[in-house]
Amino acid sequence: MIPPSFEYLQPKTIPEAIAMLQQHGDAAKILSGGQSLIPMMKLRLARPGFLIDINRISGLSHIKEEGGYLKIGGLTREAELEASPVVRSKYPIIIDTAHVIADPQVRNLATVGGNLAHGDPANDHPATMIALDAQIVASGPKGERIIPIENFFVSLFTTALQPDEILTEIRIPFLPPRSGGAYFKLERKVGDFATAAVAVQLTLDGQGACQKAGIGLTNVGATPVKARKAEDFLRGKKLDDATIKQAGQLASDEAEPSADLRGPVEYKKGLVRELAKRALTRALERAGK
């Protein structure tokens, strides 16, 4: 399958890239890992007249703890996340997530920034970043602005990024002690999009009750879903079989999946219920450590 013709641009700096976005407007798309965009172009579902390849821009690929945040550059590859010692030791939910994105070859090129900016509710990082209460750094002609993750996903394939903005960094607030998270995904086969998936990040208080819960759902709506009712329910409560079961049900109620080849609506909602229970259990386990 061949994409339609396009002009290929290789800016060397972020300001150059932003100027190109301003110049070409709607006709331009950013090329990051390309592992979501290029398949769409080959199917002619995306037809940018101008592809702005940001892969040669330095300073976009980092994983560092600074100023109270884990800061991940937008161009960071999934494989780099998987290999990162700080992510592996302190943010296992991100490892869980990166691990189930596509396959090893795709993970060598696919970027975290692209996974979020593409605006596909079937991508995996959105739910996890929702659970982690992340912030998106958008760079545009007027400089940087911070977009809280809960405002970032607007509709199918649409994010809060303006046409002249580039997602340059993801910031995750440091996790307090007694925090734990997990990402559970069911897929038909390795490499598939999620039939459904649930991300959970918990913080427990001194008595072992839930101080804070972040729950994100993958591929069960036009955007990734923040399971607010389940989150609110858990706050202040001890996590035992009964509360976990109830939270799972609430998360399932907030899911709005479409029926498709991966399964009917009730099946997917049932999956959310079960995966939420498993993710909560694992998150609780990790919070205890």
Binding site: G34, L51, D53, Q105, V106, N108, L109
Partner: protein, 170 residues
């Protein structure tokens, strides 16, 4: 039609270049511009891995990359494994352990496992299976592919020759 651009790539140790439209996929560049037809187009949708090559030391699916993105990089294809009149231990392994039937997935399998052994010279069976999870085989059931990789890992450990030839990125 968009302006053509010149792409300079080092392929299997040799400097190559061609003028290409931006929309030319890397797999077509390799097969049609360079005449290296060992790399296969399977699904064309980034699933099967038959198009896998090693670019700057990383296994990638060449059907999901534009040739222009590969400008200035080093690429290893299946044709680059045979060296100095000898099969690469992976090729030997696939032969000895009957790791193929129709052979269509095999170049992709070889390149994925080449990259795997670079990073992890002594993989467990689980690590091998995870390492080839981006490559589909309709014939073998993967069992002998796993054995082929184990053969190669053993052979490479014994000879302790560098896997990396000068000019091919690690």
């Amino acid at each position: 039609m968009a302006k053509k651009q010149t792409v300079h790539v080092k392929v299997n140790g040799m400097q190559r270049e061609a003028d290409v439209e931006p929309r030319l996929l890397l797999v077509h560049f390799i097969r049609e511009k360079l005449g290296l037809t060992g790399t296969h187009v399977g699904c064309d949708t980034s699933n099967c891995g038959a198009c896998t090559v090693v670019l700057d030391g990383k296994s990638i699916k060449s059907c999901t990359v534009f040739a222009v993105q590969a400008d200035g990089t080093e690429i290893l294809t299946v044709e680059g494994l045979f060296k100095d009149g000898k099969l690469h231990p992976l090729q030997e392994g696939f032969k000895q352990e009957h790791g193929l039937q129709c052979g269509f997935c095999t170049p992709g399998m070889l390149m994925s496992t080449y990259a795997l052994l670079q990073k992890n010279p002594a993989p467990t069976e689980e690590e091998i299976r995870w390492g080839i999870s981006g490559n589909l085989c309709r014939c073998t059931g993967y069992q002998n592919i796993v054995k082929a990789v184990q053969y190669a890992a053993g052979k490479l450990a014994k000879t302790a020759e560098p896997l990396v030839e000068e000019g091919v990125a690690k």
